[in-house]
């Protein structure tokens, strides 16, 4: 099949970018979006041009590396699908696809379709873990967890940190991601002891990064490849409000977001 890929090309954060159209004549409908870019890149390399930079790793929809906008929708038009799993048969012969990187102040631009998502890492660092003493593990059956509880935690834990929620949100909010990370631990008994501290610190870090505020409209869930439900945002708000009250005497710190090249400039 024939497709035209209109891709955002920009060498580095400092340079000017522009859209460049690449007609493709022999796209195999069984290829994924990323394989389509591979084919394009091979021809670009043959012609001596710079290949299109994009992030990828597992190519099976579980690592969260890949992701860009496909004609205005994060990860493309198929629900619950990452771009590495998005097969070209979903498009029509002759379609033009516009590929753009995630746009967010908190995802500084790097190159072509690649952005820096370390703001997510810093949010996780702030409390997205449970503290367990080392030593021999406790018997799993010692902590009974109901099936419904386990399912809710598992649904939230499915988040792969791809950033599509932020990219799709008109406010550039990271509420769905942060909510998923707070909820999947807070729902389980193992995560309860640190629940207040976790919610307060992760929300603090989220707000220190430049993310916008949530208006509960649900664009994020609509594009999320793991279909994380809006319920996790309510869970975040709930745990944050409770935690902020219970931990009101404690001084909370957050990490100032700094990028390598900003430091290098100084």
């Amino acid at each position: 099949m024939k497709l035209t890929l209109t891709i955002w090309r920009q060498r580095n954060p400092g340079s000017r970018g522009k859209f460049v159209s690449y007609p493709m004549n022999d796209v195999n409908p069984e290829m994924s979006m990323l394989e389509c870019l591979d084919v394009l890149n091979e021809s670009l390399i043959e012609r001596g041009e710079e290949p299109v930079a994009f992030e990828h790793d597992c190519r099976e929809g579980i690592c969260g590396s890949c992701g860009f906008m496909v004609s205005g929708i994060a990860h493309g038009p198929e629900p619950a699908t990452t771009v590495c799993q998005l097969t070209m048969r979903h498009f029509k012969d002759g379609d033009e696809l516009v590929l753009e990187p995630w746009r967010s102040r908190s995802f500084p631009f790097l190159k072509d379709l690649v952005v820096d998502r370390r703001s997510f890492d810093r949010i996780i660092q702030a409390g997205g873990y449970i503290s367990v003493s080392t030593g021999s593990p406790q018997d799993g059956n010692d902590i009974p967890v109901g099936k419904e509880v386990a399912d809710r935690a598992m649904d939230a834990a499915a988040c792969i940190g791809c950033g599509a929620c932020v990219a799709a949100c008109p406010n550039g909010s990271a509420a769905l991601f942060t909510g998923a990370k707070i909820a999947h631990l807070g729902i389980l008994p193992q995560g309860k002891p640190e629940q207040d501290r976790r919610a307060v610190r992760m929300v603090a870090q989220m707000n220190t990064e430049g993310f916008g505020s949530c208006t509960n409209i649900g664009e994020c869930t609509g594009v999320c490849p793991k279909e994380i439900p809006l319920e996790v945002i309510a869970k975040m708000n709930h745990d944050y409000l409770a935690g902020a009250w219970k931990e009101r005497h404690k001084v909370v710190t957050a990490i100032t977001p700094v990028t390598d090249w900003e430091l290098a400039k100084k």
Binding site: R103, V200, I217, T253, D260
Partner: protein, 229 residues
């Protein structure tokens, strides 16, 4: 890219009001109080259908509340101010969150009412100011005479002007849209979401919003149609 390492600079974290979550909780609570007022006000206004004596007596009753009236007004003004300050600050923050926009952007999951909260809100504000000047203070009463104390007369005379009614109806449809999203969103903002109840709440929000809008606009429509005069 350089090899310089970004050191973890600890900063004091944003407090409750500085955090987007805290501001949204304030918006939810103030929005809920305003919502209760909107219902109460509607129930009071519908007495217009019981004739002049009933509505004017209701007006006198409110004015005779004395201090209590000012307490209620104070709470409402405080709510409006907090609701709007949070709106303006969050709006500014959200604008900054995406410095470079998209060439193509499609919405896949949200409704029109959801996405236009930052339009319906300010228009409702403009309306409320006009409305207070027209019916409470009586400083604006286009093409009609304002008689202090004669609520019934003021309502009928005011709404007989077609464009006053049109502006009122338009604004109340926007208020309905604001509430269609707001009624369920406020629960989400204070952390309440339930797998079974939330879908029911979303449906109910639509119907409550329609009922409120229909209730309010029945008054100017009845005046224009000559059923109330």
């Amino acid at each position: 890219m350089s090899t310089a390492v970004a050191g973890p600079h600890a900063t004091r974290a944003p407090g409750f009001w500085q955090s987007t979550n805290g501001k949204k909780a304030v918006m939810a609570i103030t929005g809920a109080i305003l919502f209760l007022f909107v219902i109460g006000h509607l129930l009071g206004n519908l007495q217009v259908f019981d004739g002049p004596a009933r509505l004017n007596a209701y007006g006198r009753f409110l004015h005779n509340l004395g201090e209590l009236l000012w307490i209620v007004r104070g709470v409402l003004i405080l709510c409006v101010v907090l609701h709007i300050v949070a709106t303006v600050q969050l709006w500014a923050r959200n604008r900054k969150a995406r410095p470079v926009g998209y060439k193509v952007k499609k919405s896949v999951a949200s409704s029109y009412a959801d996405r236009t909260m930052y339009w319906s809100g300010p228009i409702v504000l403009a309306f409320v100011i006009f409305h207070l000047l027209e019916f409470t203070a009586g400083t604006i009463h286009p093409e009609s005479r304002f008689i202090p104390g004669d609520v019934y007369h003021n309502v009928v005379a005011g709404f007989s002007v077609w464009w006053v009614s049109a502006w009122y109806i338009f604004s109340l449809i926007l208020l309905g849209m604001h509430l269609r999203h707001g009624i369920w969103s406020m629960f989400q903002s204070v952390g309440l979401n339930h797998p079974r109840h939330t879908p029911v709440l979303k449906q109910a929000a639509l119907w409550i919003a329609i009922l409120i809008t229909a209730g309010y606009i029945s008054i100017p429509i009845s005046v224009l149609a000559g059923w109330v005069r």
